[in-house]
């Protein structure tokens, strides 16, 4: 388990992370979400023990994080690069051995992973000869080859085509039953929505909201319905029950006041217009994100 307690990191003039706390249990994917410059990377670097916090603590299985944990951490940084002139297998072996694996172990695992990601044929190629997507696969392998307990993926899907995204997503899912602690940092809400069970939304260094994703959706999602219709709905904007109206041609998304029952709203509608479709919709994480950040 990873516990972050009252973490503060100040740089010369700015507070990059301002008193945040969260914990990640084994077997969960924890989404660290926020716009660019929110403090995600600083938080990750503190968790990784790359930088020291100004105050606050990071506990790994109850112990303050220190260099002894290096071998149990797998990290995929957001910006990626590799030793372009070196051979694929050499680079993987180097980083695996830096995580204290033996050469034989590393070789075995490397080949297993290369095979699994369908790039075994590039084993002896130079990295510069690989496509961008395949280079990213190598980096992904480097971050998980030593079977770490804690995995931190910073924007793991950028640069992958949809097929490879799917492949990586499945791989990340496969770590859940193994009881890995997984932190996923991203600003792609769609991805986070599909993967994470817990989220932590950060903006300008401060916590905006956090917790179980479906509970959050209930709490923050509000009361949304979508309709398809024939007729004139301009009367809706004057209605007391409606908070927000998003009208298109014969299609509209309507946010209702929290206490308005969708069924009673349906009655009002059927009296005025011809409905072809009516449904209650769950808000997307994306819309919650935008709403909260704007409020912030």
């Amino acid at each position: 388990m990873i516990e972050v307690q009252n973490l503060v990191k100040e740089f010369q003039n700015t507070v990059a992370v301002d008193d945040i706390s969260f914990s990640v249990k084994p077997g969960t994917i924890f989404g660290l979400l926020g716009p660019n410059g929110a403090g995600k990377t600083t938080t990750i670097r503190t968790v990784l023990n790359i930088i020291k916090p100004t105050s606050g603590k990071v506990l790994f299985n109850g112990e303050s994080i220190n260099t002894n944990f290096l071998n149990q951490i797998g990290y995929l940084p957001e910006e990626r690069g590799l030793y372009k002139k070196s051979k694929v297998i050499d680079v993987i072996l180097y980083f695996a051995q830096l995580k204290n694996m033996t050469r034989t172990q590393s070789l075995q695992e490397a080949e297993k992973w290369l095979k699994r990601l369908n790039i075994l044929k590039y084993r002896n190629s130079k990295l510069e000869e690989l496509s961008k997507g395949n280079q990213q696969k190598i980096q992904f392998i480097m971050s998980v080859i030593h079977n770490p307990e804690l995995m931190i993926f910073d924007e793991p899907f950028t640069g992958f085509d949809p097929i490879n995204q799917q492949e990586i997503r499945e791989l990340i899912f496969s770590f859940i039953p193994q009881g890995k602690i997984i932190i996923l940092s991203t600003h792609q809400m769609e991805t986070a929505e599909k993967l994470c069970s817990e989220i932590f939304l950060i903006n300008k260094g401060k916590e905006v909201t956090s917790g179980n994703l479906s509970k959050l959706k209930n709490k923050l999602g509000g009361n949304h319905v979508e309709i398809k219709y024939n007729g004139d709905i301009s009367f809706l904007s004057g209605l007391g029950e409606v908070v927000n109206l998003d009208a298109y041609n014969n299609y509209a998304e309507i946010e209702l006041k929290q206490d308005v029952e969708p069924s009673s709203f349906l009655k009002i509608l059927t009296e005025k217009i011809e409905l072809t479709h009516f449904s209650i919709i769950e808000p997307t994480l994306n819309s919650i994100f935008i709403k909260l950040i704007k409020q912030n």
Binding site: I50, G81, Y83, K85, Y94, L98, K99, N100
Partner: protein, 414 residues
């Protein structure tokens, strides 16, 4: 420790495979050989040729004897070094003789000619006329021989036995002998001392610049492609730093080893005098320690700079300090006990090169060796610690170079 070795091995193997390394391995000794050996080879070649030399001596006082003396010089396989031609035709004026002789030179029939005017009077004068300036050795021989003959003539005129003249001309030369601690004596040739020390310092400087740049380049690469983040989430900055220094030092030693082999084979060929390899062991110690010290400095620089151009500038400045002792080399060789030499041999940055120099010049007192080595080792350790600190923060600061005040703050940070 295991990780340090992993890093060192990686740096060593990846760098040794690069084309740049292989090229520098071959090119550097070639350049040094070109600089140190070629001039000797060229001037030696000069001696291996028979030259046609004319003599214009209207007085006819010198021609015969001078011809005998000069034709006595032999080159390999007993060929004469000079073939002498008499160009002083009878019944011609001096100007006519000169014109004809000049023409011979310009037509490349002769190398040049010796013009002796007023040979039988006190106002005698001499010229060697040729298309190019002749070799110093030739001129020295001509001068020496003509003067010898002239003095003989003068003495004979005054009725003095030429044997007495021989006494005047037999100069005794002073030979310089360097007294070594062990009691054995060595011959001290200024040029040998200067150049062998010079070559070592040059070698050190080239290695420092070369591997310093390699180190910085690899740091900048890792910084710009963010591999550094993976690296320091796998090992501590100290481990990374030590691994890199170790790997590059091993690389440097490989270079020296290969260059030494070339050097030794050249000694076998007697091109480099064996005296150049005196005191080689203590010098190697200074060489290696100096190399590690400078490499450590470069790591600190590598953590600060963000582009290769910046890196190049910084490495050049630092390396200049290394060759500064060359400037005072001449006075240091002539008098190794001067104040400036003493002072410079206690400053960490100049210790390696100045000590390389001192070992060549005179026996170095054991106390001095102990003190300088301690200073060097100590300052390497301190630099290592400071570099690690700068490195720790610097590697994650992308984009801009920190100001001096920022650097100081980094160093203070715990």
């Amino acid at each position: 420790m295991k990780k340090i070795i992993t890093i060192a091995k990686w740096e060593y193997i990846e760098k040794i495979k690069t084309k740049a390394f292989v090229i520098s391995l071959v090119l550097t000794p070639l350049i040094i050989i070109a600089f140190s050996v070629l001039p000797t080879l060229l001037s030696n070649k000069e001696e291996l040729r028979t030259k046609a030399i004319g003599i214009v001596d209207p007085s006819n006082e010198y021609f015969k004897e001078l011809t005998n003396e000069l034709e006595a010089y032999k080159i390999d396989n007993d060929q004469p070094n000079y073939v002498i031609l008499n160009l002083s035709g009878k019944g011609k004026t001096l100007d006519e003789m000169k014109n004809e002789a000049d023409k011979e030179v310009l037509d490349h029939k002769i190398e040049g000619y010796i013009l002796i005017e007023h040979g039988n009077t006190d106002s005698m004068s001499m010229q060697f006329r040729s298309e190019n300036f002749g070799s110093f050795q030739d001129l020295r021989r001509f001068e020496e021989k003509i003067n010898k003959i002239r003095v003989n003539h003068e003495l004979m005129k005054k009725g003095i036995d030429p044997e007495i003249a021989g006494i005047f001309q037999n100069n005794v030369e002073i030979e310089q002998i360097k007294i070594e601690k062990s009691g054995k004596e060595g011959k001290q040739d200024f040029l040998v001392v200067f150049f062998s020390a010079f070559i070592f310092i040059l070698l050190l400087m080239m290695m420092v610049i070369y591997s310093g740049q390699m180190l910085i380049r690899s740091l900048i690469e890792e910084k710009s492609n963010r591999l550094i983040e993976i690296l320091i989430s796998s090992c501590t900055p100290e481990e990374l730093l030590s691994g890199k220094i170790l790997g590059l030092s091993a690389l440097g030693l490989t270079q020296i080893a290969i260059w030494s082999l070339i050097g030794i084979s050249l000694v076998g060929g007697a091109v480099i005098p064996p005296e150049a390899f005196e005191n080689i062991l203590p010098m190697l110690v200074y060489f290696i320690l100096g190399f590690i010290f400078y490499t450590t400095i470069f790591v600190g620089i590598g953590a600060i700079v963000t582009t290769e151009q910046e890196a190049q500038q910084m490495t050049t400045y630092v390396s200049l300090i290394l060759i500064m002792p060359i400037v005072i080399a001449i006075s240091a060789i002539q008098n190794p006990d001067t104040m400036i030499v003493k002072v410079l041999s206690y400053i960490p940055l100049t210790i390696p090169s100045i000590m390389l120099l001192r070992f060549k010049v005179a026996p170095v007192p054991t106390a001095d060796i102990i003190i300088t080595l301690s200073i060097l080792v100590l300052s390497t350790l301190i630099t290592l610690k400071l570099a690690a600190k700068i490195f720790k923060i610097g590697i994650l600061s992308y984009g801009k170079r920190p100001s001096i005040s920022e650097l100081i703050r980094w160093l203070k940070e715990k």
